[in-house]
């Protein structure tokens, strides 16, 4: 089976010009749980945007889900995101005016799944993350930990090959952070590949593999 993501000599330059990533080589296999660790300014957010195909590399090869993204149109990229990647953000990004159930169901909005089916699967996943009694609640009526669990459910509802979490515990207290981390690592049992981007070593320690990034380069060891 092909790896979930492969990066070969990936570089990213922003207008300036400022090169933020200086040639990244990285392969993540199916079922792996990987932490990408680095201080702020290290280029890890840029790396997240590339792995999540929210942005294209300036040069180098990026293969996601077996597809070389250089060959894909923006429309195909959006389709690949919808089908392959589930995002979990530090700020949750839930829609305030939608119920928990609809927020999760929206994870399938751009996959041409009928509304009834979206809701049914959303209910299933919300049950699985332990929010079976919170379907009708709006984000404002939920605690921070609950909101992040709704966001995780939204990332999972499309059964993506890859879940990409950006500082998932960054906005939570220790207890809620630990619960969210536990939930994420349970995904492993379902065979979901997980990449967590963090600056917190204790989060990284919960993963199978740690990748350290500093000044736009991958370092074999923590520096």
């Amino acid at each position: 089976m092909s790896p979930v993501i492969e990066l070969h000599d990936v570089r990213k330059t922003y207008p300036g010009p400022v090169e933020v990533l200086h040639g990244i080589d990285l392969t993540v296999e199916r079922d792996e749980q990987v932490a990408i660790l680095g201080p702020s300014g290290s280029g890890k957010s840029t790396l997240l945007n590339l792995i999540g195909i929210l942005d294209r590399p300036t040069s180098g090869t990026l293969v996601v889900g077996g597809q070389d993204i250089a060959a894909l149109t923006d429309r195909r990229l959006a389709g690949l995101r919808a089908a392959t990647i589930g995002f979990v953000f530090q700020q949750f990004f839930l829609l305030d005016y939608r119920t928990a159930l609809d927020n999760v169901a929206d994870g399938l909005l751009y996959t041409a799944t009928p509304l009834r089916e979206r809701r049914r699967r959303a209910a299933e996943v919300l049950d699985r993350v332990g929010l079976g009694s919170r379907f009708g609640h709006r984000p404002a009526q939920l605690s921070g930990g609950e909101r992040q669990r709704v966001a995780i459910a939204r990332a999972l509802v499309g059964r993506p090959a890859l879940v990409l979490a950006d500082e998932p515990t960054g906005a939570l207290d220790t207890a809620n952070g630990a619960a969210v981390l536990k939930l994420l690592s349970e995904l492993h049992d379902d065979g979901t590949t997980l990449i967590v981007i963090t600056h917190d070593p204790s989060v990284a320690a919960a993963m199978d593999r740690e990748i350290h990034i500093r000044d736009g380069r991958i370092h074999p060891e923590p520096t």
């Binding site: 945007n49 999540g52 929210l54 942005d55 597809q67 923006d74 429309r75 195909r76 959006a78 389709g79 690949l80 995101r81 919808a82 089908a83 990647i85 995002f87 953000f89 700020q91 990004f93 829609l95 305030d96 005016y97 939608r98 929206d106 994870g107 909005l109 751009y110 996959t111 041409a112 009928p114 509304l115 939204r154």
Partner: protein, 394 residues
């Protein structure tokens, strides 16, 4: 591998949800368009309704009434119609009905104790019994003169005359002083649109007028109903028929011409108010564009999230165009409803039949949709152009 897809029903749902989440703002932002479209619907509806009311009135009164009166001679003297004029006009071409009135000198007062100087502008006229039928006038109370009562001192008052004399309810003993003699009031006429001078008169029979006031029995004003298809031809021959010796001293007029002219004026477009409505709609469109631009700025993270969930640029643009369209459509519907309501209310108040041209409401909605598209284009393009990484950036 499949491209990202968003079902049409979901696009509509997503667009409407954005509005539902900000109801007050949506309501305020559609106000401009609603008022503008309501104004346009009102302008068209009320002018059409009033034209229809006038048309209805014209149909009831008929345009085939002609008036034959003595004109002025070259020297400016008032001429008179020959004694036989009424008779010869009856035989004129296309003439269907003839009636006449003749002025009688004297004043009309309520009773003896009121001096004859206070005339109240009421004149005495001798009238033929068929006058209401020719003028399509209605008798409001009592009866009109007939062949028998024309021989006695009885009178029928015009609507204005009755009001000025204070005759509100008829009793068997209701009487007024006509030319210094007591006349019993047997009837009161409703207002007659085509002959306002009759409204200000006390009408008495020709026979009584000849006996009591010594008039010669000829009509000074002859009213004719002609064949409606040949009013113009009839009008041309009537002067000669009335006075074969001096046709140039006879004036023939069509009292309904003034009403017809008013009708034509109503039908011309009320462009000033229409223009004001258009300006209101334009301001409304700018309002919607404004609100949409703000909405795009506020919802950056929602846009970023949707892109992360797999939305294409087109889906994002479509969502914001859809919101703008839905807002404009809401405004259009509210405007059409409000405009219709005002038109119906005003027409009811004026006793017209409410008429809203069939094309106005669909045109109003189509205009609203066009405005929605135009107003939404720029904000939607901004939303679509926003890169997902920028939209998600903290």
């Amino acid at each position: 591998m499949r491209s990202s897809r968003l079902a049409a029903a979901d696009l509509v749902r997503v667009s409407l949800l954005g509005i539902g989440a900000r109801k007050l703002r949506a309501a305020l932002s559609v106000l401009g368009i609603a008022i503008g479209i309501a104004a346009i619907v009102c302008v068209l509806g009320i002018s059409q309704s009033s034209a229809a009311g006038l048309q209805h009135e014209l149909d009831r009164l008929g345009t085939n009434l002609l008036t034959v009166q003595p004109g002025q001679s070259l020297t400016g003297d008032q001429s008179t119609l020959p004694l036989s004029a009424e008779q010869t006009l009856t035989n004129g071409p296309y003439v269907q009905q003839v009636s006449g009135i003749a002025p009688v000198s004297g004043t009309v007062v309520r009773n003896k104790r009121i001096g004859s100087i206070i005339t109240g502008g009421i004149s005495i006229k001798a009238a033929r019994p068929n006058l209401p039928s020719v003028l399509r006038g209605e008798v409001a109370q009592g009866v009109f003169l007939n062949a028998a009562t024309s021989n006695y001192p009885v009178t029928v008052l015009g609507a204005v005359a009755a009001r000025r004399l204070g005759v509100t309810t008829l009793r068997p003993d209701t009487a007024v002083r006509v030319g210094g003699k007591t006349f019993t009031v047997v009837g009161v006429l409703a207002p007659i649109e085509l002959a306002p001078d009759v409204d200000r008169s006390a009408l008495i029979g020709f026979a009584e007028a000849e006996r009591a006031f010594r008039i010669d029995g000829s009509a000074a004003t002859v009213y004719l109903r002609t064949d409606p298809e040949h009013v113009g031809e009839a009008a041309k021959t009537l002067a000669a028929a009335a006075d074969p010796a001096h046709p140039d001293l006879v004036s023939v007029s069509q009292p309904s011409a003034a009403l017809s002219a008013r009708l034509a004026a109503k039908k011309t477009f009320n462009s000033l108010f229409f223009g004001l409505g258009a300006v209101a709609v334009l301001v409304g469109a700018i309002g919607i564009a404004n609100v949409m631009v703000i909405s795009v700025l506020e919802r950056r993270s929602e846009i970023g999230l949707r892109r992360a969930l797999g939305a294409t640029r087109g889906h994002i643009g479509g969502q914001f165009i859809g919101e703008s369209l839905a807002l404009a459509l809401l405004g259009g519907l509210a405007g059409c409803a409000l405009g219709t309501l005002v038109t119906v209310g005003y027409a009811h108040y004026k006793h017209w039949e409410a008429v809203i041209p069939a094309t106005v409401l669909p045109l109003g909605l189509a205009g609203a949709l066009l405005i929605g598209t135009v107003a939404g284009l720029y904000p939607a393009a901004r939303a679509a152009r926003l890169s997902p990484t920028q939209a998600l950036a903290r």
